[in-house]
């Protein structure tokens, strides 16, 4: 029987009057790279917010490592978050600190480790992302790809059980994209992590995923391995996976007859 580190069952969530999830069910297998895809606004990043306990579902059960996330508050929530790492879309690096201090930040703030041990930890993680030589650089001096790797080093510095990646491929050049893809896979396997990658980049998602979920209209509309997803029979899934401009999701926004519109001018 497969071991799942995250279990979401019948999750409902809404931003004010706008429903995002209406009975979401998904499970993240331990030790694997799971990719969550879907059109913009389908709630991919919101799911990471729920899993990190930054948002609370209106109903449903969300478990991380056998513990209910919505039930955690205050110190117990922070304790749970120490088992989670997160790479934010905007990297979220602290601009007043250099690269080394950014990676050291969680260790200095949440542990009692002495500085020599912190230095070893930080250099190890920077070495993993190939930036051990960039420790003294300021954040403003980094390219987009380097900044993302620094953020990745920071996300794994507390040796978490899972790492959540929020749109990790956005705004990267092809070389940086290749590096991040390789890093996600290598770190997942080398550190025995579980990775959750939220993206709408189908090609990169398929390249890296062990298992995929496609979200649409508040629920999981399809799931499977990348090979299964790419040959899915549902036209809507096919349109998304192949990036077709027309299909069940129409190219044209609903409007009255074109000729009638022109005749009224």
């Amino acid at each position: 029987m497969e071991d799942f580190i995250v279990n979401a069952s019948d999750i409902h969530f809404a931003y004010r009057d706008r429903p995002i999830f209406e009975g979401l069910n998904l499970a993240i297998p331990r030790g694997k790279v799971t990719v969550i895809m879907g059109p913009s606004g389908c709630g991919k990043s919101t799911f990471l917010g729920l899993l990190g306990g930054r948002l609370a579902p209106t109903s449903g059960n969300l478990e991380f490592d056998g513990q209910s996330v919505p039930a955690k508050l205050g110190p117990s929530l922070y304790k749970m978050r120490r088992k989670m790492g997160m790479l934010f879309q905007k990297n979220a690096l602290l601009t007043d600190l250099n690269v080394f201090d950014n990676v050291a930040f969680p260790l200095r703030e949440t542990t009692e480790l002495q500085e020599p041990l912190i230095r070893i930890q930080v250099l190890t993680k920077l070495e993993m992302v190939g930036l051990r030589g960039a420790g003294d650089m300021q954040i403003s001096e980094l390219s987009g790809g380097m900044a993302r790797r620094v953020a990745l080093a920071r996300a794994i510095v507390l040796d978490p059980l899972i790492v959540m990646y929020d749109e990790p491929f956005v705004g990267l050049d092809p070389v940086s994209m290749g590096i991040i893809l390789k890093l996600i896979r290598n770190l997942n396997d080398a550190l025995n992590l579980t990775s959750i990658v939220v993206t709408h980049d189908v090609k990169e998602g398929c390249e890296i995923a062990d298992y995929m979920y496609l979200l649409d209209r508040g629920i999981v509309s399809a799931q499977g391995t990348p090979d299964q997803m790419l040959v899915h029979a549902d036209p809507a899934i096919e349109q998304f996976m192949q990036g077709l401009s027309d299909g069940p999701v129409r190219f044209h926004y609903p409007a009255r007859d074109y000729l009638e519109d022109l005749q009224d001018i």
Partner: protein, 258 residues
């Protein structure tokens, strides 16, 4: 009917803001208390919030004191009472202009910077990242800034008043030839340590509290967009200034009323 609905909506909006700002204040005070265990963070913020506001405060204080010296002399000389110039300048500064004007400058320089800084940290997901790293941003970011703001303003107000008194002296003695001894002695005999100086310090502590509360609240709750941060920064300066002026009236009535 539209007007009534609009007024009602504004009222509800205002009440929601007031409630959430009070809740924020509660958390910020807890964060402020916790930040004393890491005084280095407070020192860093004392530099950012206080030291960097010093120059504008000192320059403004000098000119305000010089203007007081001019205006005071022009009026007092009509009654041959120019020997009281030092007293007039000192009382105006220590009781009112020092705390109030330094608070307004503080709101414009440090308050707006605090709002923009926190708002930008929110927009670039730095605060969310801290939460995900199991670090409470209220304790790490808000608390030290709150304490630093409250410590900084009374010191800045004292500097404003001191430099202002010196500015008044430069005009009174340098321009109009008032005797040094007369200028300083009138102050020594007329300014009361408790009633004037101590009350002025109390005022600036209250103003510091108000400005950092509004600045941090606006930053922490600003929409994470450039327009949202811009509006929040404007609101900080406008609301801080108005609240400082209104509370100055109340404090003056309480402190100096019969």
């Amino acid at each position: 009917m539209d007007l009534v609905a609009k007024l009602g909506r504004q009222g509800i909006h205002f009440t929601i803001h007031l409630g959430s700002s009070l809740l924020f204040l509660g958390s910020a005070l807890k964060g402020a208390a916790a930040s004393f265990s890491r005084f280095r963070l407070i020192i860093e913020q004392l530099y950012a919030v206080g030291v960097l506001t010093m120059l504008i405060t000192v320059v403004a204080g000098l000119f305000v004191g010089m203007v007081l010296g001019l205006q005071g002399y022009y009026q007092l000389v009509n009654f041959s009472a120019e020997s009281n110039l030092g007293l007039i300048v000192a009382l105006s500064l220590v009781r009112e202009l020092g705390p109030v004007l330094s608070a307004l400058l503080f709101a414009g320089r440090a308050g707006s910077a605090l709002t923009a800084e926190i708002g930008l940290m929110k927009a670039t997901e730095q605060l969310a990242a801290m939460e995900m790293m199991a670090i409470d941003p209220i304790k790490r970011i808000i608390g030290p800034r709150f304490v630093a703001g409250i410590i900084s303003l009374p010191i800045l107000a004292a500097m404003f008043s001191a430099i202002g008194i010196l500015g008044g002296y430069l005009v009174g003695h340098g321009q109009f030839g008032i005797d040094s001894g007369v200028y300083w002695h009138s102050m020594q005999s007329g300014v009361d340590l408790i009633k004037d100086v101590f009350n002025g310090v109390i005022k600036s502590i209250v103003f510091g509290f108000i400005v950092v509360w509004i600045a941090l609240y606006e930053g922490y709750n600003s929409p994470p967009t450039s327009e949202g941060i811009s509006r929040a920064t404007t609101r900080t300066v406008v609301w801080s200034s108005l609240t400082v002026l209104a509370s100055d009236y109340l404090l003056t009535a309480l402190m100096f009323g019969e």
